[in-house]
Symmetry: C2
Subunit: 127 residues, 2 copies
DNA sequence: CTCTCTTACTTTACACCATAAAGTTAAAAT
DNA sequence: ATTTTAACTTTATGGTGTAAAGTAAGAGAG
């Protein structure tokens, strides 16, 4: 593949759009889980799906709620408190946008071809 | 889209394979840049491509070097010190592995949201 | 020659944050 | 009545991403 001009522009690989709140692994897990369950997921279901500890999940949910990506519903089931989490519409959009940025990272990675830049003279040849 | 059995298994969305060293945004930028330039990139080229500050880049390169994902070559150009960074073979493999995990995240997202690609990403939908 | 300026990084310090451990509340069981 | 279990929440700590300050050394001015 021919090296294109865009390869060299400043910030080409800055991946600005990779939302920090979503990019964090634990939260990415949570959001991906919720994305597939529009009716929401219970605290414990989420805990299992994402392999998170109670405290961990609680903290991340609070952060996601704060950012208006997730909304929480508190109720009771069999007289026990139950928390239901679901994506907000805003959260769903932000997630889809995040994923579209991820697709770019994947696409970049697919173009793994050698090409030469400036300063070739001093470049060592060995690996 | 019919919910399959695998949707419910514990850890389904834990995304264990998302290597923390690579997953960090700044380092992902660096590695993606280097992946496309097998001959390596100079410190300043990298700085531009990734929109990082000097100190930031320096620190992340040290971390990547420590993890044997990147190797550094120090030389001079026009009597000025120049640092060249390039992916190690190990780094290249780890990056490809990481990207294959990312592909799964993207695939999950497409399947779970019933939408594909960046273009469709922001199509409105009912709550 | 020496003093300042610029380049090319490195080191340090701080603020943030992910995580695990401890704490809380309330129902159920003994 | 008190212990246990469930379902979280809060606190504490260790790690880390980042900007600011620091270092070294060549180049140019006087």
């Amino acid at each position: 593949m021919k090296p294109s001009e865009s390869e060299k522009i400043a910030g080409r690989y800055a991946y600005d759009g990779l939302d920090r709140i979503i990019h964090e692994k634990a939260r990415l897990s949570i959001i991906a889980s919720l994305a597939g369950h529009s009716e929401g997921l219970l605290f414990n279901e989420l805990k299992e799906l994402c392999s998170l500890t109670d405290g961990n999940l609680s903290r991340h949910l609070a952060i996601l709620q704060e950012a208006d990506l997730v909304q929480m519903w508190k109720g009771t089931r069999n007289k026990r408190p139950q928390t239901l989490a679901r994506l907000t519409e805003h959260g769903r959009r932000r997630f889809l946008e995040y994923v579209s940025r991820l697709e770019r990272v994947v696409a970049d990675a697919s173009r793994l071809t050698g090409q030469s830049g400036a300063g070739a003279a001093l470049r060592p040849r060995t690996t």
